[in-house]
């Protein structure tokens, strides 16, 4: 696989992977991919993970309400992007290993250990996998942590991470708006805004924004439905029907 920019990853891989129908001939065939926008940020006291909910096969949206943030342990979750199958299997294996590790260790696994397990699978099977993941969690040693595990199996700890095809649209935004030491509320609002901006421009991302907040107290899952997200440039307030607009009499009807 060529070094793919995140934007072309979903499209290119869908056609080249199987050697079968390209997304142009058979837009509804092809491997399940999560075009995706995934984000993880550290705040003062924990982490917030966020993702969109679109899973596509070619041009068809196979699942418009997927859950791309999977639990690895009580205190560590992972955001998944790339091939749906690959990332599901990786997180299943890591969950299995961490379960046994926790029993042996006698205490919750650290975020670092969980991330490294993800890395091992990603690195050792790099020629066969298309999985870009963001691992986030909280442990008593290092507090909230975010680890990026992109294609290839590199592992990098970061104060915030973005991934998936939608992340292309977020580099500039994060460079501009990211700040250290946000409060929990600021961080949750921020990631919802950021993912929804990516959804606005990335065809492979869409649906709802799911967030998972992890801190010393525990884990909180949130759901932000598509119709409750902020509106951006050239987007309009949704209506029930044209008829309502006309009835209100306030439209600038273009009458010839």
């Amino acid at each position: 696989r060529k070094p793919l920019s995140p934007v072309s990853a979903a499209m290119d891989a869908a056609s080249s992977l199987m050697g079968g129908p390209s997304s142009a001939d058979a837009p509804t065939d092809g491997e399940h991919r999560m075009g995706t926008t995934i984000v993880g940020v550290c705040y003062a006291g924990g982490v917030v993970l966020a993702a969109d909910s679109r899973t596509s096969t070619g041009m068809y949206v196979a699942n418009r309400a997927s859950d791309k943030i999977s639990q690895l342990t009580d205190n560590v979750y992972v955001c998944r992007s790339g091939s749906a199958a690959d990332t599901q299997v990786i997180s299943d294996y890591v969950r299995y290993f961490l379960h046994q590790h926790t029993i042996q260790l006698g205490q919750p696994a650290t975020v670092k250990v969980a991330s490294n397990l993800v890395r091992l699978l990603a690195y050792q099977n790099k020629s066969m996998l298309q999985a870009g993941m963001i691992v986030g969690g909280w442990d008593k040693y290092e507090g909230g942590q975010i680890y990026s595990v992109p294609l290839g199996g590199t592992i990098l700890r970061q104060p915030f991470a973005i991934g998936g095809s939608g992340s292309s649209y977020l580099y500039g935004l994060m460079d501009h708006e990211w700040k250290e030491g946000m409060t929990q509320e600021e961080a949750e609002k921020f990631v919802v805004k950021v993912v929804s901006l990516a959804i606005a421009r990335d065809g492979a991302s869409g649906g709802v924004v799911r967030t998972v907040t992890i801190n010393e107290e525990g884990v909180k899952r949130s759901f932000h439905p598509g119709d409750k997200l902020p509106l951006w440039h050239e987007e309009m307030e949704p209506q029930n029907s044209l008829l309502d607009i006309l009835a209100a009499g306030s439209s600038d009807a273009m009458v010839q």
């Binding site: 690195y123 790099k126 992109p150 590199t154």
Partner: protein, 232 residues
């Protein structure tokens, strides 16, 4: 053998440059790792200490570089456990890496890196400075100055012209910065955040990241279309 196997790099670091100087070896690179054409990670350390006597600089696929650092951890740990007063020097580390890289290449499963290995160790002739490189196909050699990636094209000519035996630290840093600047101007994947490291008999120092001033104040830059409309 997997005769079809041909890995491709995903997250890549670019040039590493290094040279011998009076007190030891100096090595430098930027702190960026790209993902295709995206400058994705901008605070990455691509020069690390190895044992007591060496520095390693890595360009190419970053996950492979991280794995190589783990191999080196194992190697130096085992070396330390001998507890015999001896420790692996840069020449030995370089030889080990060469074997690793060449054997992977023979299996059509390369570690997609160019590695620079520099250090100082006491030898029969006193303190011996060492600098060498090895790449993904197993090509390896020693030299007074080394560069990987774009550095081969942009930095080596400068180093060949201006490197001298017994440069002071200050002179060496100035020359390295000249090369780093050229790479910043002309290598698309470079970023303006650098790390310089040195290794001497006293030990190694990896300096904190910093940025360099760039010069755009040429009259010809201000309005290039003036005399030739449509020029680029």
């Amino acid at each position: 053998y997997n005769l079809e196997r041909r890995e491709n790099p995903y997250v890549t670091g670019n040039s590493v440059i290094a040279m011998k100087y009076k007190d030891g070896v100096i090595m430098a690179c930027d702190t960026g790792a790209s993902y295709g054409s995206t400058l994705r990670y901008k605070s990455v350390e691509r020069i690390k200490e190895v044992g007591k006597h060496s520095l390693i600089g890595g360009s190419g696929e970053f996950s492979d570089f991280q794995e190589i650092l783990r191999y080196l951890d194992e190697l130096t740990l085992n070396d330390h456990m001998w507890d015999d007063g001896n420790s692996l020097g840069p020449k030995e580390i370089h030889a080990y890496l060469t074997r690793v890289m060449y054997n992977r290449r023979n299996k059509f499963d390369p570690l997609w890196n160019s590695l620079v290995l520099g250090g100082v160790k006491k030898g029969p002739k006193g303190d011996e400075k060492y600098l060498g490189m090895v790449n993904m196909i197993g090509t390896h050699f020693e030299e007074n100055h080394i560069a990987t990636g774009f550095g081969n094209h942009m930095a080596i000519p400068i180093l060949r012209g201006e490197w001298r035996e017994d440069m002071t630290f200050e002179e060496a840093v100035k020359l390295i910065e000249k090369c780093l600047l050229v790479l910043l101007y002309r290598d698309r994947s470079s970023i303006n955040k650098f790390q310089i490291a040195k290794i001497t008999t006293e030990g190694s120092t990896i300096y904190p990241p910093y940025a360099l001033k760039t010069n755009w104040g040429f009259a010809a830059f201000e309005n290039p279309s003036k005399g030739a409309v449509g020029t680029w």
